[in-house]
Structure formats: structure tokens, C-alpha cells
Amino acid sequence: MEASMTLGLIVLGLAVIGIIALVAWSCRIIDRLNSGEEKTSRQIIKEQQNGSQD
């Protein structure tokens, strides 16, 4: 297998997996943020930091 093909397939795989992972991560964030009351970004970040402390 030529080197450019090997590299190309790695890049292709990373791109596709990256897209799926980012969309999944983002959808989780959307569901979480929309499950309660409306918040500003400052409140959200504070809650996230408190969560990571627990």
C-alpha cells in the first residue's frame, strides 16, 4: 500500500470519527442545557466547574 494512501486513510478515519464524536458531544451538551431553566454562559461554566469538583 502506498504511503500517501496509508496517510490518507488515517486522515479520513480521523475526520469521520471526529465528526461523529463532536456531534455526539454537542448533542449531549444541548440536551443538558435545555433540560432546566435558562442560564447565561457564566452560570453554565460555573456549574460545569462545580460538577468536575464533585
Partner: protein, 757 residues
């Protein structure tokens, strides 16, 4: 006499997640992929084509995340136009809306032409087998393109509900068809693995060609823009808008990669792939048919491919045409709504609830382009204008998150901010750079439209634009002419008492810097109070400014400004940037806000985002200080704190540079290299002192008991980090009951960048 009542029209919210996701998909799974495969495979080769679609998906997702975040916080019709208005004001927003309108309309013309080209080719050449000249065929194609545009203008006129439902059904069918093609390709590759040899050479002309191909087919990835336009018509927009954007990019990228794979394995290598007496590789053979390469390749894989693909093109082009007309209409509607274009653009049909005049104007552009311009140039112009538009949105998302974090409620916050918008900006600039190789005519067309936009703004929009709730307005301003190069100090005045407490220190600072003085009072007016009533809130600020001018007007050139705003910090930041201020001075009442802020909702954003030095004064008075304590820890703010102390000192003042040795040590005497005589302070009046101690805060406060003034550098930690760690300088500042000054030095390149984003 009966009171006059206004009839309020608004768009109906009847699109759900499925509708808007399909709307975005319909915009993307259109002519771009059908034309792009044949046109680009010759540039990048078989493997390169797979990478082109996958990497374009990545770039599109980065921008879609920016759109998703902004749309979840500002879910209104207008998309990029609204984002730019909130981020950068009227002129930027007008240009964004203007380009958005054009980009969507150009894309609409491209889809109408593609639809017409494929259907007329099938009907006239394949089905009826008519022998007609290319000129006649070209005229028929243009007439059919115009007819298709007229049809979908009418469908859009019937209203959002019909638009969304028709578009959703058409898009669902075409997506299913594309997946069937992809599935057949996978089955063929499994049955005959030798076809995988079609991927040699993987990228025959080098990796840089990827950028050319990506730019050329970028228009196939811009569907999330139309979703942003639907902000006024989507149910639960904070959730549905961002989800629809991200899901549509995911589905479209997987579809493109799958279909590209199927196209390449569809052709079996052999002696029948000969063109002009030359034996070609399968990918070369596909590329030899240019925009029809996809049709020829798939024709070798499935029966009745010609008919099926013509049907697919009809589905895809018409749904994309539908979506682009929708998007262009909403962009011009938003411009009309805010009086940036004549109010007629905002007229909404009473029965259909659609902005009929904006639709008519958008349709006019689509019809003109489809009727008179070549398809390749139209496609390139669409890609270029979308790239420019998306670049602007990625800048806006950074700016808005930084400057309005406490004013907007978000339904989505992108992770690892600002990594993805920065990556998107870099990628888009690269693609624009390579676009010049693709079409010079596109650059000219986009440039002419841009110049026309500036002309419309300067001749019409800036005189008619109405204020929105997000803007900052100058109510009164007195400006004295200044010599170039003069340093500028801004004093933010809240009320007469606050102004008088800062007058003497401000005088000393301006004298030391040989600076002019800008006085500003921001008038925070609640959202529900109209602009016309803002003068009720002016009284205290006016008095404060008048008092300050009485004291300082005879010594320095003084300008004064009163501004209306919804948020004081954002208003002051805006003024700092506009007036190119070198130092900001403001007062602080001394009580820290709840746990969400390090100092307060006004001071925190100014310390974090100010493009200049900031001085915060607490408990200051009109007196001479005998002992000034300067706690230092070695950062850049320590130097500014020391310089400020020297500036405020009189000949008799003693200054103590104070450090607490606790783990990491800093020798305060290193700051004594500053020539104190430049400030009129004798060197023997400055001393350095270090003491050991575990409780740094208490050690500083104990030392402060012997002083009448403390000058301390603010924390350099990013905004919000205090929520997790706490910030010592701000805790000391709150606990200290003496006169106190907190300083924050400008941060070089970082502050320069912050002038813009």
C-alpha cells in the same frame, strides 16, 4: 375617540427538529455533490476526493458549531446578520446580511440551472431523442431554470409550513436514494475486492490540491446557514436549531463520503476505459466527463441509472432551490425589519405569514442570475460569498461569547472554546486563498456586490436604521480636537460623589502622561424602557461630568460623552476601542458580587477584555497620601502598580514595595530599577520589604494597617477561573478598608487582538 392600536405581524413557529434538519440537508445534498464528483476527481484523484468531502465536513462542522451556539442564544430570523449586529454593530451587520442575501440567491440560481440542465438533457436528448443545436439547448435550459425558480418562489409564498413540509419530504427521498447508491457501492466492493485498486493513485497531484477541490465544492456544505434563517419559525429554537445544524452536517458528510466511495468502485478498470486512444484509470475516466462524471460512473453500477439520476437531480436541486430562496428571503427580511433596507422588505402577508416583498426581490435576483450567467461562475461566486460569510460568523462567536456572557441565555455552548472557531477561520482563509485559482469572475462578481453593499449602506441604511435592544447609543457628545499622538485617559463617571473622589488622582495621572481626558457616563436603561425615555436616567451622570469638568477642564483637553446602553461593561469596552484610549479609570464601591464574579459584573469584563491599562479606585479622596503600600508578586501588573503609586505620590510620600515569601519568592527590590525621580519621588522614600508567611492575604492586610493607601495589581487569571480557584488580589481589595487602587496592565498582542474580537 378610540385609541389607535397597532396590528402586530409575526412569523408562525411551526417547524420542528425534523423539518429544519431536512431543510439544512436539502440545501446541501443538491447539485454540489453531483457536479463536484466529476469536476474534482481529476484535480485530487480518487482518494483525494474522499478526503475532500470528509475534510470539508470537518470545516463545515466547526462553523456549524459557531452557528449553533449563536442561534441558540439569538434565535431570530437573519442568521449571520443578527450575529454581526450584536457583535460588531450596524455596518458589519448590514454587510453580513447583504452578503448572506446574495450568497443564498446565487446558490438558488445554481440549483435552478442544475435542475434545468439535467432534466432538459434527459427529456430532449435521451427520451425524445431530438436533434437540437447546443445554442437552442442552452436557451431552453435557461428558460426552464427561470420557470423552476418561479415555481419555488410561489411555494415559498405559501408559507413556512408548506415550505418546510414539502422540503422535508423531497429531502428525505433524495437522502434515501443517495444511501442506496452508497450501499450498492459497498456491496460491489465486498463482492469484487479488486475494485479497491481503483483508489490507486490515491492523491496523484499532491496534497495541496485538496484545498483547491475543497474550495470549489464548499457550496455543498452550507446548509446550516438556512437553518439559522429559520429562527423565528422553529418551535423550541434554543434546542432544535443547534441540533438540526449539527445533525445535518453529520448526515451530509457521511452521505457524501459513501456516495464518493460508490462512484469510484462503480467503474471496473479495463480496455473499455479508453478516451482518444488512451487507456485511462477509472478515476481519470470519471473525470473526463466533468460534471457528468457521476452519472456515467453510476450508470455502470445500476440499471436505469440515467432515469434514476435525473430524478435524483430533480429532487436534490429543487429542494436546495427551495431552501436557498427561503434563506435569501429571510436575510433580506431581517434587513428590512431593522430598516437597513426599505420597510417594504419586512412586510408580512396577513394570510400566509410570509415576507412577500423580500421573497419577490430575492426571486428577482435568482431569476436574473439563472437566466443570464454561466453555471460555473455562479457556483464559484456562491462558494466565495459563503466562505466570507462564515469567516465573519466565526469571528462573531468569539466576540459575542467574550463580551456578552452575562446577557445571553444559551441553549448550546461549544466545548473547548475558542479552538473550533479559530480552526475554522484558518481553514476558511486557506480555502479563499486557493479559490482565486478556480474563478476570477467569481472574485469580481462578489467584489462588485460588496462595493454595492457599502454604497447602499452609506447612502441609505445608516440614515434609516433603527436602534435595537442590543446596541449602544451616543446621546450627547462634546469633542475637542486633539493633537495626534496625545495619550488618552478615560474616566468613567457614575455620579457626582464618585466623580469627585477620583478627580485628584485623575489629575495626577493625566499630568504625568501629558494626556487628554475623556469623560464618559454610561446610562444603563432597562430593556423595557424605550430609547425616547432614556433621558430620565441621565441626570446623575450629567452632574458628575459637569463637576469633573469644573475641576479638570482648565488643565487638560476634556471630551465628554453620555451613552445609552443595556450593559455598562460592554458600553465602556466599546468606547475604549472606538476612542483608542490608553488608560481607563473608574470607581468601585468595594463590595464583591456573588460567587459568579471576581469583583463585579462591570469590573470583571473590563479587567479581562480591556484593550488598555485599567485603574480601579476604591475609597479614594481629595488628599495627599503619606504611606503607600504596593504588594507585588512579579507579574506585569506589579510594575504598573508601582508606577501608579509613584504617580500619585507627593514629595513626602513613602512607598513600600511589599512581598510575602510563601513557596515561590519574588524580590521586590528588582522593581527599584525604575527611575523614581521621573515621578518627582526621592529614591530614599521608596523601600522594598519581604516577610515570610503562610497566609498571604492576612500578611498584606496587616501591613496595610500602617498605610493610608494600597495599590495592588489585579489577578491575571482568565475571567471565570476565580469560580474554581479564587483570586487573592480581589479578596484583599474587598477586605482592605483604606484607600485602594487596583490596576491591570495592557497585555500587548492579546490586548491588540481584543480591540477587534
Amino acid at each position: 375617540m378610540a385609541a389607535r392600536t397597532e396590528v402586530h405581524s409575526e412569523l408562525s413557529r411551526d417547524l420542528n427538529l425534523f423539518h429544519v434538519t431536512m431543510m439544512g440537508l436539502g440545501m446541501m445534498i443538491g447539485a454540489g455533490v453531483f457536479l463536484g464528483i466529476g469536476n474534482c476527481i481529476g484535480i485530487v484523484g480518487p482518494g483525494g476526493l474522499l478526503l475532500t468531502f470528509a475534510l470539508n465536513g470537518v470545516v463545515a462542522l466547526f462553523t456549524a458549531m459557531s452557528y449553533a451556539e449563536l442561534s441558540s442564544a439569538i434565535p431570530r430570523a437573519g442568521g449571520a446578520y443578527n450575529f454581526a449586529r450584536i457583535g460588531y454593530g450596524r455596518q458589519a451587520s448590514f454587510i453580513a446580511g447583504w452578503m448572506e442575501w446574495f450568497a443564498s440567491s446565487v446558490a438558488g440560481a445554481m440549483y435552478a440551472m442544475t435542475f434545468s440542465l439535467y432534466t432538459m438533457r434527459f427529456i430532449l436528448t435521451t427520451w425524445l431523442k431530438l436533434d437540437i443545436s447546443e445554442n437552442t439547448f442552452g436557451l431552453i435550459v435557461k428558460a426552464a431554470a427561470v420557470a423552476a425558480a418561479v415555481l419555488f418562489i410561489y411555494i415559498n409564498y405559501r408559507g413556512a409550513s408548506e415550505t418546510g413540509k414539502i422540503g422535508a419530504i423531497v429531502t428525505l427521498l433524495q437522502t434515501a436514494f443517495m444511501f442506496v447508491i452508497g450501499g450498492i457501492g459497498v456491496i460491489i466492493a465486498l463482492k469484487d475486492p479488486a475494485r479497491l485498486a481503483n483508489f490507486h493513485d490515491f492523491i496523484p497531484h499532491g496534497w495541496l490540491k485538496l484545498a483547491v477541490a475543497m474550495g470549489a465544492i464548499y457550496v455543498a456544505f452550507e446548509g446550516y446557514e438556512v437553518i439559522a434563517q429559520a429562527g423565528d419559525e422553529v418551535s423550541n429554537p434554543k434546542k432544535n436549531l443547534p441540533k438540526a445544524m449539527l445533525l445535518s452536517v453529520l448526515v451530509v458528510t457521511l452521505t457524501y463520503v459513501l456516495v464518493t466511495f460508490a462512484t469510484i468502485v462503480a467503474v471496473k478498470g479495463g480496455p473499455d476505459l479508453t478516451v482518444g486512444g488512451k487507456q485511462l484509470q477509472p478515476w481519470q475516466w470519471i473525470g473526463s466527463f466533468n460534471e457528468e462524471g457521476f452519472r456515467h460512473a453510476v450508470g455502470r453500477m445500476i440499471p436505469y441509472a440515467n432515469l434514476l439520476l435525473t430524478l435524483a437531480v430533480i429532487f436534490s436541486s429543487t429542494s436546495a432551490l427551495n431552501a436557498t430562496i427561503y434563506s435569501g428571503t429571510r436575510a433580506s427580511y431581517a434587513l428590512g425589519r431593522d430598516s437597513m433596507l426599505p420597510k417594504a422588505f419586512a412586510r408580512i402577508s396577513g394570510s400566509r405569514k410570509t415576507p412577500w416583498f423580500a421573497l419577490l426581490m430575492t426571486g428577482g435576483i435568482v431569476i436574473c442570475l439563472a437566466g443570464f450567467f454561466p453555471i460555473k461562475e455562479v457556483q464559484a461566486a456562491a462558494s466565495l460569498t459563503f466562505l466570507v460569510l462564515f469567516f465573519l460568523v466565526n469571528v462573531c462567536v468569539i466576540k459575542i461569547r467574550r463580551s456578552m456572557s452575562d446577557e445571553l441565555t444559551y441553549g448550546y455552548l461549544m466545548p473547548l472554546f475558542p479552538l473550533f472557531p479559530v480552526l475554522a477561520i484558518i481553514c476558511q482563509l486557506t480555502l479563499v486563498f486557493f479559490m482565486h485559482e478556480f474563478s476570477v469572475a467569481a472574485l469580481v462578481t462578489a467584489g462588485v456586490w460588496l462595493v454595492l453593499g457599502f454604497a447602499v449602506y452609506w447612502l441609505y441604511s445608516r440614515f434609516h436604521a433603527v436602534a435595537t435592544a442590543d446596541e449602544i447609543h451616543i446621546l450627547e457628545e462634546e469633542a475637542a480636537p486633539l493633537e495626534p499622538g496625545t495619550a488618552r485617559v478615560m474616566l468613567a463617571v457614575a455620579n457626582p460623589a464618585n466623580a469627585l473622589s477620583m478627580v485628584k488622582n485623575t489629575y495626577k495621572i493625566c499630568r504625568q502622561k501629558k494626556a487628554s481626558l475623556e469623560l464618559i457616563h454610561m446610562v444603563p436603561v432597562p430593556d423595557l424602557v424605550p430609547l425616547t425615555d432614556a433621558d430620565k436616567y441621565l441626570h446623575e451622570g450629567k452632574e458628575g461630568i459637569t463637576e469633573t469638568i469644573l475641576y479638570l477642564g482648565g488643565h487638560f483637553k476634556v471630551n465628554s460623552t453620555l451613552r445609552y446602553c443595556r450593559n455598562i461593561a460592554r458600553g465602556i469596552l466599546s468606547a475604549l476601542r472606538e476612542k483608542k484610549i490608553n488608560m481607563l479609570i473608574m470607581g468601585w464601591h468595594g463590595r464583591r458580587n456573588n460567587g459568579l464574579f471576581s469583583v463585579g459584573s462591570t469590573v470583571d469584563p473590563l479587567l479581562e477584555s480591556s484593550p488598555c491599562d485599567v485603574i480601579i479606585m476604591k475609597n479614594c479622596c481629595d488628599c495627599e497620601y503619606e504611606n503607600i503600600l504596593v504588594p507585588v508578586a512579579g507579574g506585569p501588573n506589579s510594575r504598573l502598580a508601582f508606577e501608579t503609586a509613584l504617580t500619585l505620590a507627593s514629595k513626602k510620600t513613602r512607598i513600600t514595595l511589599f512581598s510575602v515569601v510563601n513557596g515561590r519568592s519574588f524580590d521586590p527590590s528588582t522593581l527599584l530599577t525604575i527611575d523614581t525621580r521621573l515621578y518627582g519621588v526621592k529614591p530614599q522614600n521608596v523601600a522594598a520589604k519581604s516577610v515570610p508567611g503562610h497566609d498571604v492575604k492576612q500578611a498584606i492586610l496587616d501591613e496595610a494597617e500602617n498605610c493610608d493607601m494600597m495599590v495592588i495589581g489585579a489577578s491575571r487569571k482568565p475571567m471565570l477561573s476565580h469560580v474554581f480557584h479564587g483570586t487573592l488580589p480581589e479578596e484583599v481589595a474587598e477586605a482592605c478598608d483604606k484607600s485602594l487602587i487596583m490596576v491591570s496592565a495592557t497585555r500587548g498582542l492579546r490586548s491588540w487582538i481584543r480591540r477587534w474580537i
